[in-house]
């Protein structure tokens, strides 16, 4: 089970919940699960070409994992 702490601007799509949990083995699966479970969030995560928006960052604890 993977746990995602949602940033404040995305909580409007998760009924105000800060925590989202899903069975996912990597970030892509977690994002897909988040998008499927919360309609409307996808267009804010991905651009018109399906690419993750450049300003979105992922942290595990204090470590930025976008470069991994």
């Amino acid at each position: 089970m993977a746990t995602l702490i949602n940033p404040t601007p995305l909580r409007k799509f998760t009924n105000g919940n800060a925590v989202f949990e899903a069975d996912a083995s990597n970030v892509n699966e977690l994002l897909n699960a988040l998008s499927s479970a919360n309609g409307g969030i996808k267009k804010h995560l991905f651009d018109d070409y399906g690419k993750l928006r450049g300003f979105i960052r992922f942290y595990v604890g204090d470590e930025d994992i976008n470069e991994l």
Binding site: P7, T8, L10, K12, F13, A18, H44, F55, Y59, D62
Partner: protein, 133 residues
């Protein structure tokens, strides 16, 4: 918005001139009204073209979220300024905007802050203006 924080944002905008500056503001939302109780300056980490762009580091964003959680506040949005330009979101502002956040823009001239306006993304990812009181 508490006058104290509006004054602080304006002072930040004037101090940084002619570069862009930015900061977070916190408070609470009740019945579609947002009450700003704290505004904090952050460093514009944009490496080039600081006069036209601002950039917030991921670490600073993470700290802002944690600060809000620790203080029992809501991270309401981001303020930044447009030196020598109107307080209207640019194309770049739109590209990097997040839903729900309020984006306060200060238009700054050499003589000081001229206009302060606030914007929020709608469901079509277009900016709509919010009223500031």
């Amino acid at each position: 918005m508490n006058d104290e924080y509006m004054v602080g944002m304006k002072a930040h905008g004037e101090d940084a001139f002619p570069n862009e500056c930015c900061g977070f503001f916190y408070g609470e939302e009740k019945d579609d009204v947002r009450w700003v109780t704290i505004a904090k300056r952050i460093i514009n980490v944009k490496e080039d073209d600081k006069r036209r762009r601002f950039e917030i580091s991921g670490k600073n964003y993470l700290r802002a979220e944690r600060f809000a959680t620790q203080e029992g506040l809501t991270l309401l949005g981001i303020y930044h300024r447009h030196p020598l330009h109107p307080a209207i979101p640019s194309k770049h502002d739109l590209e990097v905007a997040m839903p729900w956040f309020s984006y306060i823009i200060l238009s700054v001239e050499p003589s000081g802050v001229h206009h302060v306006r606030s914007w929020q993304l709608n469901e079509s990812r277009e900016f709509e203006e919010e009223t500031i009181k």
